[in-house]
C-alpha cells in the first residue's frame, strides 16, 4: 500500500520542472535559432567551430518538410520563433518572398556564387545549394533484358518502356514537383499535359513520396520499376552508400555506380535551396554571421555528404568520388521563377486532372 503513494512522485517532479522556466546566466553564449526542413544535417566539428568562433549556441529547429517549415515561418511572422530560415527552394521561393518574411542581407559570400543561382535580386533569400532532379535507371535491369537505357524524357513514351517508370506526385513530393516543372520547361506550357497523358497510357506509376518510389517501386530495392524520378547525384550515393561489410566476407564492392541518371539537355530540373534572415530577429549580427558561414567553403564542402546536395560556391571543392562519377546535366529545363510563382497551383491541379483522375 505504502509504495503506491510514490507512483505519483515522478509525475509531480515532472510537472514542476515543466513549469519552471530555464534560467539564463549572463556569461553564457548567446543562442541562434535556425529553422530548417527535416533533412538538415551537418558535421559536428563544422558547426562546433562556428559556435566557438562566435561564442554562440546554435539551436536547429527542424519544422517538417520544406513547405511545412515555410508555412510555420509565415504564420509566426509577427512573433518569429527563429532567427534564420533555411530550406526554402525555388518552387516555394515566391511564397516566401510574397509573404515578406526575410530581411535583405548582401553577404560577402555571394561574390563566389554564379548569378544563375541568385533568384532574388534583393538578396532576401540567398542561394546555398542545388540538386538536379532527373530520371534515374537501374543499369542491371536494362542490361539483363538487353534493352537500351532511356536517354531522354521522350523515350519514356516508347512501347518498350511500358510499365517501367515510377514518378512522385507533385502535390505531395518536392522531387515530384521538380520533375513536373522539368516537363513544363522541356515541352512547353501547352504541350506538357500531352506528354503526361502519353506517360499515363504507357502505364506510369505515381506514388506520393520519394521514399516509396525509390525504396519500394524501384527495381534496385526489389520493386518492378527500373526508371525512377530522383536526383542526378543518386547514382553516386548508391556507390558511396553501398554496403561495406566489415565481417571479412568478400564484399560486393562496387567500383562504379549501379544506376545512372538521364542528364540530356532539358530533361532535369534544378532545385536551388535558399537561406534568409527572418524579419524581427533580435540577433541580426549572429544571423548574418550564420549566413556567411553557410556560404563559406567549410560548410559548402560539408553539405554533399550530409544533405546530398551540392555547393553553389564555386570555390568549394568536391570529394573525389563526386568529381569522378557525378554527371550533372549541362542544360536544365528552364522555367521562369515568376511563372512558377503565378502558375504553381494551377499546374499541379491540371496535372492531377490529367494523370490521376
Amino acid at each position: 500500500m505504502c509504495s503506491r503513494k510514490y507512483v505519483w512522485l515522478p509525475l509531480i517532479i515532472f510537472l514542476l520542472s515543466a513549469c519552471a522556466a530555464p534560467a539564463q546566466t549572463s556569461s553564457a553564449p548567446r543562442t541562434l535559432t535556425v529553422m530548417t526542413h527535416d533533412s538538415f544535417a551537418v558535421s559536428e566539428p563544422v558547426i562546433r567551430a562556428f559556435e566557438q568562433a562566435n561564442n554562440v549556441k546554435v539551436t536547429i529547429l527542424p519544422s517538417g518538410d520544406a513547405g511545412t517549415a515555410l508555412n510555420k515561418a509565415i504564420l509566426a511572422k509577427n512573433n518569429p520563433i527563429a532567427d534564420v530560415l533555411y530550406g526554402v527552394d525555388n518552387t516555394f521561393l515566391s511564397r516566401a518572398l510574397n509573404e515578406d518574411i526575410y530581411q535583405a542581407y548582401a553577404s560577402p559570400g555571394l561574390a563566389n556564387i554564379p548569378n544563375t543561382f541568385k533568384l532574388d535580386p534583393q538578396n532576401r533569400a540567398l542561394p546555398v545549394d542545388y540538386g538536379d532532379v532527373c530520371l534515374n535507371y537501374d543499369k542491371a535491369y536494362f542490361s539483363s533484358k538487353n534493352l537500351a537505357a532511356p536517354q531522354s524524357l521522350e523515350d519514356l513514351l516508347k512501347p518498350e518502356y511500358k510499365s517501367l517508370t515510377v514518378v512522385e506526385n507533385p502535390a505531395t513530393s518536392s522531387p515530384g514537383l521538380a520533375f513536373l516543372l522539368a516537363t513544363i520547361g522541356h515541352f512547353g506550357e501547352d504541350k506538357y499535359l500531352d506528354y503526361w497523358r502519353g506517360l499515363r497510357t504507357n502505364d506510369v506509376r505515381v506514388v506520393n513520396d520519394w521514399n516509396t518510389a525509390y525504396y519500394t517501386e524501384y527495381t534496385r530495392a526489389g520493386g518492378t520499376r527500373p526508371i525512377v524520378v530522383s536526383y542526378s547525384s543518386s547514382p553516386v550515393f548508391e556507390l558511396i552508400e553501398a554496403e561495406q561489410p566489415k565481417d571479412g566476407t568478400p564484399a560486393p564492392q562496387l567500383s562504379e555506380p549501379p544506376t545512372a541518371a538521364v542528364v540530356s539537355d532539358g530533361s532535369c530540373f534544378r532545385q536551388i535551396e535558399f537561406v534568409g534572415i527572418l524579419k524581427g530577429t533580435k540577433n541580426q549580427d549572429l544571423a548574418q554571421k550564420w549566413i556567411d558561414f553557410m556560404l563559406s567553403p567549410t560548410f559548402q564542402e560539408d553539405m554533399p555528404l550530409q544533405m546530398y546536395v551540392f555547393p553553389v560556391n564555386s570555390g568549394a571543392k568536391l570529394n573525389d568520388t563526386f568529381t569522378k562519377y557525378l554527371i550533372n546535366p549541362q542544360i536544365t529545363a528552364g522555367v521562369d521563377p515568376q511563372a512558377i510563382a503565378d502558375n504553381r497551383e494551377a499546374w499541379i491541379q491540371a496535372w492531377t486532372e490529367a494523370v490521376l483522375r
Partner: protein, 610 residues
Amino acid sequence: MTAGNAAGNRAGHNARQIDGPPGDQIAVRRSGRRGSWILLTLWLAPLIFLGAFYFYPLAGILSASFARREGNLLSPFLAALTSTSVRSIFAFTVYQAVLSTLLTLLIGLPGAYLIARYDFPGKALLRALTGVPFVLPTLVVGAAFTALLGPAGWINQALMRLFHLSQPPIDFMYTLAAILLAHIFYNTTIVLRMVGDFWSHLDPRLGQAAEMLGATPMQVLRKVTLPLLAPAVAAAALLVFIFDFTSFGVILVLGGPRFATLEVEIYNQTVSLFNLPLAAVLALIQLFFTLLLTIVYTRLAARVTRPLSLRPQRFTLRRLTTIRQRLLAAAYIGLLVLLLVAPLIALAARSVTRVESSTRLPPGQSDQGITGATAQRGGFTLDYYRELNINRRQSLFFTPPATAIGISLLYASATVLMSLALGIPAAWALARSETSWANRAMDPLLMLPLGTSAVTLGLGFIITLSHPPLNMIGSPWLVPLAHTLVAFPFVVRSLTPALRSIRPRLRQAAAVLGANPLRVFRSIDLPLAGRAVLVAATFAFTISLGEFGATAVLARPEYPTVPVAIYRLLGQPGALNYGQALALSTILMAVAMTSMLVIERMRIADVGEF
C-alpha cells in the same frame, strides 16, 4: 436519458434481471451537491491540460487561417461546401472508415472472445505481437506489405511459381484493399484489448444460466453476451473509426495518389496550395463529424452500460478442450498471424537481407564495374545492424540506436504517467454519474484531439506555444504532452466501461463504512478496474513509442525517438541507409513487444486480489 434505461430493450431487461436488482441503476444517477464538487475537482486537471495544449493552439491556428481569407467569414465555408471534390473526398473518407471499422471488428471480436475466455499456450506472446503494428511507421509498413504482397513480393512470387504464371496474380498495392488491410493491421489490437479485457471479467455464469434455461449458443451471444459487451465494443469501434477517419500515412503510402481522405486534403491545401482558410474549414468539418459521432456514442454508451458483477480473470478462463474448439482456435490464430504478424516477419526478414544487387553484367557489357561479387542480393547479412552504431560522417544529429531507444522509452513512460494522471480522474468522473451536466459537456470533448487534423494542430502549436504565456518551443516536454493528447482519449475510453460496470452498492457500502472518496477509489475501483488500467497504460505506451508526426516537429533533433531516426534514414539514398532503416524498425518492434510483455506482467491489481 434515464428513460432509455428504465424502459430498456429486451436484451437489457434480461441482463438486468440476471445480474441484479434495478436499485443499482437508480442509485448510480443520484449525485448530491457534494458529488458535483467532486466531479468538478476531478475535471480540473484534464480541463487545464486540454485548454492549454489543445483548445488554445487550435483556436490560434483557426483564427490565423481565417484571417487570411478573401471575402467574408462565410466564403471559405461556402467554397468548401459547394465544391464537388470536397464532397467526394468526404464521402470516400467516411466510406473507407466505415468499411475499415466493420472489418476490424469482424476480425477482432472473435479474437477478443478467444483471449477473454480461453487459456492457451503462447497467449501472452500473441497479445504482445498483435500490439506491435501500433508502433510502426507507415512508410515501413508500406515496405513490409510490398515485401509480402507487392508484384515482386513473396506471395505473388510463390503463386507465380506454383501455377506457372507470367504475371503476378495479385494486384494489391495502391488499391482500396491495401488501405483496408493496413487499417485492420494497425487497429485490430484496439478491439482485442478493449473488448477482450472487458469480456474476460464478464461472469460466464450469466451465459451458462441462459444455456441451462434452454438458450442456444447463438441466443446466448445475441441476448446475453453482446448486450453486456456493448459498452466496450462501442468504445473500441469509436476509437477505430476515428483513427480510420483521420487516416493520413496509410492513405499516402499504401493508397497512393488516387485516394484522398480529409486529412490528406488538409495537408495538400496547407502545404502544397497554401490555402489556409479552406484547410481550416476542412479541419472543422473533420472535427465536427468526430464530435457528432462522439455525442452519439456517449448517449448510446450511457444507455447500454449496466452494473455487473465483474469476476476475477482466473474464474472466467477455460481451456480449449474439444478438438473442434482447438481447430477453430487454431484456424483463427492462423488468420490473425497472417494478417498482423506476417508483415512484421516480412519486415524483420528484409532487415537481415542484402538489398544490394551484385549481379554480374552479361558479357559484352562493361563488367569492370563490379568486383568480387560473391555476396548475393538476398543473402543474409547483419551489416545494417552493425552500421547503426557507426557515425561515419561525424554527423551532428547522429544517434546510436541505444540512445534513441532510451529517449523513446523515456517519452513513452512520461506519456503513460501523464495520460493516466489525467485519464483516471476523468474516467472516474464519467463513471460516477451520467446525468451531471459537467460529464455530459466534457465527455464528447475528450475525443476531439483524436479527430483533429495533425497538420492543423501542428501549425497551431507553433504559433501559440512560441511566446508567453506558454513559451515552450524547443522544450523536451512538448513531445510527451503531444503524445498525451492522443493517449488521453484512449485511457478514458479503456477505463470508463470498466469503472461504470462496478456495482455502485460496493462504493456505497464503503462510503457507509466511513471511507472517503479517494479511499473508495483505491479500495474498490482500482482493484476492480486494474486490468483496464493496464490496457490504458499499454495504449499510452505504444502510442508514444510509435508516434511520428508530432514528434518530428516538436522533438529536439539531438534527441530523436526511434521513429524519427527511422524516417531520417529513409530520407537518404543508398542500400546501406535503407537497410539501416529496416534494422531500426525491427529493433523498434522488439522493444515494443518486450515492453508489452513486461506491462502484461505488471498486474497493478487484478480482481483476484480484491
